[in-house]
Structures are given as C-alpha cells and as structure tokens.
Amino acid sequence: MILHASTLRLNRARQLLIMLMMMAFSLAAANEKVPVNHNACLRCHAMPTLAYRDANSNKIINLSIDSLALSHSVHGKLACAECHDGQFDRYPHQFDAQNRPLSCVNCHEEKADAAERHYQFKTIEEEYNQSVHATPDAPELKGFNCHSCHDPHQFRASRIGEPLAKIIHTNNQLCLSCHESARAHHAWLPNQEKHWQAVRCIDCHTPVTENDQTVSHQILKAEASNHDCVNCHSKNSRLLNRLYQYRTATNLEHQGWFNTAVFNDAYVVGMSRSPLLDRLALGVIGLTLLVLIAHGFGRYKAYQRITRNRK
C-alpha cells in the first residue's frame, strides 16, 4: 500500500518534469537566434529607483527592471524591442510611443508550438474572462490585465527544488499586495497562519480542475470559493492536483530518494504535514526493529548455548 502511493506520486512528478523540459526546449528553440543584449535599455531601467508619480492617479509607477530576474525569466532571451517597438532609442522617450498595451495571449498564440502547449493560452484567456478580476464595471479593476499579477520581466516557471514554502509565500504576497484586508476576511479559517503558509490563495479561489491540469485563471468570488475542509483534508485531496504535485519531486531534490521513500505519503495528506510526526514514526519503527533484532540475537545466543550443551 505504501509503495503503491509513492509510485503513483513519482509518476506524476515525472510527467511534470517532462512537461517542464518540453516547455524549456520549445522556448530555447524559438530564441536560438542571437544572444540578446539588453544593456542599452537596462542602463537606465536597471536603476532600482527608476519611477515617477503619475499625475492622474498620484500613484508611483515603477519603471525599474531587475536585470538578474529578467535574465532568468522566460522572456530573458527576447530583445527588449521585440515587445517594445516604439521610439525608445532616445531619452526622454516620446510620450505617444508609450503605454501601448501588450497582450500575452496574442503573442503566445502566434508562436509555432502554441497548439502543443500543455496549458493553452486560449484556455487561460477563457478562464480569465470568467474571473472576478475581469469584472468589467468595477472601478477599482480599471486597467487590470495579465501584467497586474505577472511581471513579464520576471516571469518564470517555478523550479523543482525550490522550497514550496517560498513559492507559496511569493504567490500569496502577489494577491495580498492588493487584497490588504484579506486577513480579516479569513478569520473564520481555523489555523489561519498555518493555512497561509501551506496553501496558496488560488488553491481555494479557483474552481476544481481535471487531474494534471494546472490551477485555473478563473479566480472565484469569495462566496463561490472553496469553504469545504474535506476538499483538501481527505485522501483524494484536491491540493494534490495542484502545487503539492511538485512535492515528492521537491523532496527528492532535497532529501534524496531513500528519505523520500521512507518519509513518503503513507500518511493521508492534511492529517500529517508534521516532520516531527514523521520522525517520531520513524523512531517507533526503528525501535521496533531494534527490539526485533535484540530478540532475534537473544534467541540465536540461546540456541547456540542449547546446541553447545547438547554436545
């Protein structure tokens, strides 16, 4: 039974690995042209404080690009002008050249391998159009678009081996940067802190999707979101379809195959995420083994003595 569960999870991880590798290859293939040089733009745009206060909104518009994050991002190999094709070669830039909205979907749908993608941009668009973020008449959502959550200059797929807690934290910070009063609205949630450390906002605030499908871009209203504990705290936890499908692979990276095999998901997800409990269990097993060995050794010694006495 134990073996069976872990094999299942390993298979899932392998699938995911293959998927990510395919994505990486396809990206590399598309950009095999020339090594791009962002220096001309980054000379100014790498300044961490490059920003201005918008006269209309009175908000600070950040124009800074983290050059290291850009180089690691999925777009790092694109020349700046591939997306930004205005009159940007002189400073101050021409004003009419700015503010041209850039669409993720359009660009990605034009790509040759668009149809082979595991998670289609068309699907993303369809899901997004039903999301609360796409509510057309809400004034606070004016101008909401992909870039509101996904910084195209930093965007990259999560890496295997990256600690889940970190992924979860970064992910949730994104939501919390706008949803400032979210904490108060989740007062009903038992063990709120623990949940927030272990679960992404989107894990509850998106509809349940098919197995192996990544989390939907359709963000649900509070009322429509998951309130049912059992959805996660059960054997077939919906969390396992989501972020936690990376978990076994992550453990493999960190603890080696043997440890993972020992500390595998023999416990039902949600009933024990406690490393302490895992260790205690291992301790109990170890002790039992020791007792067994001691017992066997005693029996062996006793047997030897008996045979010696017989002689």
């Binding site: 001309a40 100014c44 300044m47 961490p48 404080t49 490059l50 400073y91 101050p92």
Partner: protein, 711 residues
C-alpha cells in the same frame, strides 16, 4: 544580652547611612578635586526682581510688540501708510488677537506671582514633569530636569551604544562590554583646536588696530554654545556613579532654546572668584517670551557649525556681547547654512524639529553619523525620504531618470551645489597668523573652499564612519579598488588646491623662516608621507582586515563630504597608523602671543589632561579609546611635559582628512547632468571604484539629450 542586638542594629543602620553620606557629600568633593574643576552657586546680574508696576509695563510692551507683528503680517502692504497703521491697530486690539498673539507666559507669570526669572528653578515650578511622545507613538511622563541633564545637549557624550562609528580595530564603538563615554566632551578636534575641558571659557586680551594697541577683552570657548553655562562641561556625567551637582543644574540656560527673544549680547565670559564662566540672559523679558522651539532658537548656536560665524545671515553672530565680545570663528566648520536665503526648507518655514523630531529633550541626529558625536536617539531616522517619499522628482521631463539616481546618490549630492566659500579645509594651528583688525593671533587657514572637488568631495557612504570621522561605504559593484583612506581623503591631487597651499606656505615662511615650502606642501597635501613604511603597511592591513566589513555593510550611496585636516601638536608616544593623540591649545595664550607650543604647555597642565596620563584614566577609558584609534598596545601614560619642555611632541597633519556630512543648505534646483557625466566632471568615477570601462560610459551619455533639465 540586649547590648549586642542594639549594636548590631546600629551597625546595620549606620553602614548604609555612612555610604549615602559619602556618596552625597564626599564623592562630589573628591571628584572635583580629582579633575580639578569647581562648582559654586551661580549668580547672574540680569536676573532681577521687578515690581508689579514694572512687570505690567514690560508685559504690555511685549504684548503690543507681538500683536503688532502678527497684525502687520496680515494687513496688506499696498495701501497708504496711515490706512495700514489704522488697520493694524484695530486688528491687534481685538480680543482674539490678544488671545492668540500675546506671549502666553505673561498671564502664567502674572497669575503665579513670578516677578523674577531664576533659571531652571522658575521653569520647573510648573514644568517639573513633562509628557513626551516616543517614535512608536507611545507616551511617557518624565522628570524634566533629569531628561535634560541626560541629553546630549547637556552632557555631550554618551556611554550607550548606538554609534555608527567603527574603530580602526574593526569594532563598532561601544558595542562591546567595555563601554566608554565618547562624544564631543572628550574628542580632541582640529577645528576648534581644543577639548571642551581645556577650552570651555577664556578671556583673551586682544589688541585691535583701531584701538591703537589698547587692550580689549574678548570671550572664547566651547561654553558659548553649550547650555551648562558654568565653569566647565558636565564631566561628572562621564562617571558610572554620581550626578551633576545642583549648582551646575541651576546654571542650565533654558531660555537660549525656549525664549523667542533671547539677548545673545548676554552671552560672554565673566570672571568671578571661582574662575571663568559664561553669562546668560536671565531677564524676565526673555522668560516672558517663552514659546515653542523654532529654527530661530536652534540657530542661535547651530548656525555656527552650519553657515559659520561670519556667514552673512547668522543673526546670533551679530550680537557678540555687551562686554567681552565673543571672537568670531573664521573658516566655517561646514559652510552649509540653514537660512531662508540659502536653504529651501528654511525658506518654506520648516522648523529644525520638523525633521529632528524630539522626544522630550532628546533630539535625534539621524542614523547616519560619520563623526564621533553622541546621538540622543540613535535608532531614530532623520531622512529626506521620510517626507519626500520614493519618487520625489515630479516636474522635470527627466523625472523618472532623476528618481532612478536615488538608488546610488543621496539627495545632498545634487541639491547642495556648493558650500560657503569660507569653508575651511586645511588649518594650521602650529603657525598662527596675526589678525590686525581683531588684534589676536589666529590659526592659519591654509586652504578654504566651498567648491566641489576642493572643499568637499563625493564618497560612498552606508551610514558608518571611522573613529576619526571618515565616511565608510563601498561601490555596490563590490570593487576593492575603492579605498578612500588610501586615496581621496589621504591625498590632495587637485593642482589648484596644491598651488593655493604652496602660495600660503610661501606667505607663512615670511614669519616662520624654518618652513621648508616643498616639505610643507607635501605634508599638507599628502599626509600619508608622514608615516613610516612600517606604519603605512600596518595601515593598509588594518583597512583591509578591520574596516572592509564596515565598508561593505548595508547599501551605500554617494554623499558629499566636507573635507578637513589640521596641523597640530601631537603626542608621538601615542601614534598609530591613522594619527596620534592631538594636544589642545590654551586659547588665551594662543590668541595673545601666537606661541603655539607655549599654548600647548599651558593647556596640558590642566588637571584633567594630567589625569588622562595616569593609570586610572588609562584603565577607565584611554586604552579602549586608543584601540578604536588604531593603536593596539594601549595608551602610553608618558606625560609629554617634563621640566617645562614638550617631550616627544611634534607638529603634524592628521594622517588623513576628516569627512563631515553636509545635509543643510539644500537648493531646490539640483545639479545638471553634465556636471558629473562629462570627462573631468565633478565626480571622480575612477576613484569611486568604477572600472575604466564603466567610467567611460558614465562620462559619455549616448542617447540622452542633455538639454537643460528644467526645460
């Protein structure tokens, strides 16, 4: 049976009693004798009792004056003088004008029957405790007198941690177990040429030209600005036990900070049977004008270290005293004035305490301090950003790019374009010059300038400083080539400056024939040339091993720093790779005779300097002081005066220039791009640790239209 019990009780009661008596009465006397300082009841002649009639006359005068000024500020100027006068008189006599503009203390004093100002005693009558607000918004009620007596304004040193200063041994000052009192009280400094202990109050017999050689007494000394106002600074506070005697507390000058009308002409040195001390304005007139603190009250003293004494808009320096007039200090300490004429914040009516937000009598300096000056609230920020926020530039077409610079440049770098031209850079105390107009010998300022690259330079700064006031920081590119303690602050390379120093040296040679001009210029502009190869090697090793860490901390930005070096007599028994203990001058002897060596001899006879050269003082603080100073084998108690002769004392320039932060004198319009981004611009990118390639890029801005920024 009974007797032993009584005896036991007697012993139990009497031991604490005796200890208390010893502590209360014997210890203060013993301490006074040890440091050779006196305390005595203080009398001020201008603290006089008024009759009720005199009080009302004065009150009426002050009330009319205040109401008239308030009304005049409201009534429009573009009308006939008569019409204006009539309106002002109507307005100033309305009940609301009386309520709002009349000095509040008139009514308070009238009701309380106060007809004479007696110093702190009178203030504490009502203000025994005060409610203060901490930085986190919480409140507390404190004893006003204790609060003040433990503030840096009163004791100007602290034993607490919180210094952003690092010793050359790599330790943060007072971060360890052995804490020593440090601050202005015991920091020998080349700008005033003395310590507070030996230079507190002096009367100088000057012989000004216009008096045809007749003697005129002048006042001089640190006490002119420090609120103790007695015979000496509050040295008692440097000990772990004991307190300032009540006589000294009674000498606190509340009004110099709290009165709207304080007569600076009352600040002069007076001589009584106990010695020399500073007079103060204790008139009821000043006391009646008490109001909230304002820039005007702070600047009575602080314009001295900002704009300078001879700065055109230093109002306090225009009131030098009814008698024994104070000597003006020529050669400004920082040369960055805070005045509505020369600072945009002052012009906007912003008060000192709007940025330096006090908590009771404790006033923050900000977290970044390059010099060894104590800070009341070291954890409290005083920054531009706290008001201006993240993206302060919002008018210029270049606003985004200007904001972009903030990650690497402090606001001051662009918004202080020059210091006052009399900003002193090199001061020679050893070879004084006769000032015929004043009739005194003054230290010779070898070089003064307020120009960038000359009077001040740009350095990376992360908020840390060394024990001798050198800004620490590093180029964010991690370059190890940035080493100001071997380069920028240890060598003057500007040919104009070198030529000016040479010119001055030739001038000095006329009076001091033993001066070798070439050697003089070399010493002044290349102070490292005074170190032996062995000391030089040790210096480089100490910078690399001890200071790198403090340089690399946090986030450095480029700040402007005023440069300063002084030639003084040094005790060579206590020399290290960064300098030797400088010896103070006796002001009277120095100013009167111009015999600098004789002035040192007089000053170091002062009991507290003698104590410095004894074992208890060595153990209590000097060994630790020297360790921070970069001298590893402790303080040498070889007293440098034997049989009236200075022994092992030599004139030297400090081994590097001190760097003083400049934060005032802010201009609303900053620098133009090309002032820095051009070959031979004001910023030496190469010395700031940029590679040749980066420097070339920074000096040449392709693609950026360098029009006038505000176009």
């Amino acid at each position: 049976m009974k007797l032993p019990i009584i005896r036991r009780w007697f012993i139990v009661v009497s031991i604490p009693l005796i200890l208390t008596l010893l502590y209360q009465f014997v210890y203060p006397l013993a301490f006074e004798a040890y440091v050779g300082k006196v305390n005595a009841p203080l009398v001020y002649n201008n603290s006089t009792e008024l009759t009720s009639v005199e009080f009302e006359t004065l009150a009426n005068e002050l009330s009319i004056d205040a109401r008239q000024r308030a009304a005049a500020a409201i009534v429009a100027a573009d009308q006939t003088p008569l019409a204006r006068q009539v309106k002002i008189e109507m307005l100033m006599n309305t009940p609301s004008a009386i309520r709002n503009s009349e000095p509040k203390h008139i009514q308070y004093f009238r009701d309380a029957g106060i007809r004479r100002y007696d110093g702190p005693e009178t203030c504490l009558h009502c203000h025994a405790t005060m409610r203060i607000q901490h930085g986190d918004g919480s409140h507390a009620t404190v004893n006003t007198l204790n609060d003040l007596v433990n503030s840096v304004h009163f004791k100007f040193q602290t034993e607490a941690g919180g210094f952003s200063t690092y010793g050359y041994d790599g330790r943060q000052v007072n971060s360890g177990g052995h804490k020593i009192p440090v601050g202005k009280i015991n920091r020998a400094c080349g700008i005033p040429g003395s310590f507070t202990w030996t230079g507190w109050a002096a009367l100088i017999a000057s012989h000004p030209e216009k008096n045809h050689g007749a003697e005129v007494l002048r006042s001089e000394g640190c006490g002119q600005c420090h609120i103790g106002g007695n015979y000496q600074p509050a040295t008692e506070k440097m000990m772990p036990i004991g307190d300032v005697p009540n006589e000294a507390k009674n000498g606190i000058d509340c009004l110099i900070c709290h009165a709207a009308q304080y007569d600076m002409n009352q600040r002069y040195v007076i001589k009584d049977e106990k010695g020399l001390r500073w007079n103060q304005d204790r008139s009821l007139r000043a006391a009646l004008t008490v109001k909230s603190i304002s820039s005007e009250t702070c600047l009575r003293c602080h314009q001295h270290n900002m704009g300078g004494d001879v700065y055109q808009h230093n109002t306090a320096a225009k009131e030098l005293g009814y008698i024994n007039q104070r000597i003006l200090h020529r050669g400004a300490k920082r040369g960055n004035p805070f005045s509505s004429e020369d600072d945009v914040h002052a012009a906007a009516g912003i008060q000192c305490t709007d940025c330096h937000i006090p908590e009771g009598h404790l006033i923050p300096r900000g977290r970044k301090g390059v010099d060894l000056v104590a800070n009341d609230i070291p954890i409290k920020d005083v920054t531009c950003e706290s008001c201006h926020g993240q993206a302060p530039h919002n008018q210029s077409e270049y606003r985004a790019l200007l904001n972009g610079h903030i990650a690497r440049l402090a606001c001051e770098t662009c918004h202080i374009k020059a210091l006052q031209p009399d900003n002193v850079v090199l001061r020679d105390w050893v070879h004084p010059t006769w000032n015929a107009e004043e009739g005194i010998f003054e230290p010779t300022d070898i070089y003064r300038s307020g120009a960038p690259g000359k009077g001040f330079i740009f350095l990376w700064f992360n908020g840390n400083g060394t024990f001798l006031a050198n800004a620490l920081g590093s180029n964010p590119n991690g370059s190890a080539d940035y080493n100001p303690l071997m380069q920028q602050v240890a060598r003057i390379t500007d040919p104009d400056v070198i030529a000016a120093v040479r010119h001055k040296a030739i001038e000095l040679k006329q009076r001091y024939s033993d001066i070798d001009v070439d050697a003089y210029v070399e010493m002044a502009t290349n102070p490292l040339s005074q170190l032996s190869p062995e000391l030089l090697a040790r210096r480089e090793a100490m910078i690399a091993n001890n200071l790198r860490n403090a340089m690399m901390q946090g986030e450095s930005r480029i700040y402007p720093f005023k440069l300063f070096n002084a030639m003084m007599y040094e005790d060579m028994s206590n020399q290290g790779p960064f300098g030797a203990m400088i010896l103070p001058f006796d002001y009277a002897r120095y100013y009167e005779t111009g015999d600098s060596a004789a002035a040192v001899k007089v000053a170091i006879v002062d009991p507290i300097i003698q104590r410095m050269y004894q074992e208890p003082f060595k153990r209590y603080m000097m060994d630790e002081f020297m360790a921070y100073f970069g001298i590893t084998d402790g303080w040498k108690t070889v007293y440098p005066l034997v049989n009236e002769q200075l022994v092992n004392v030599e004139p030297h320039w400090m081994r590097q220039m001190g760097t003083l932060m400049v934060n005032h004198g802010i201009q609303s319009k900053g620098r133009e791009c090309i002032e820095c981004h051009a070959p031979n611009g004001i910023m030496d990118f190469n010395q700031l640790g940029y590679s040749a390639e980066q420097t070339a890029k920074l000096e040449q801005l392709d693609g950026i239209e360098l029009r006038h920024k505000s176009d």
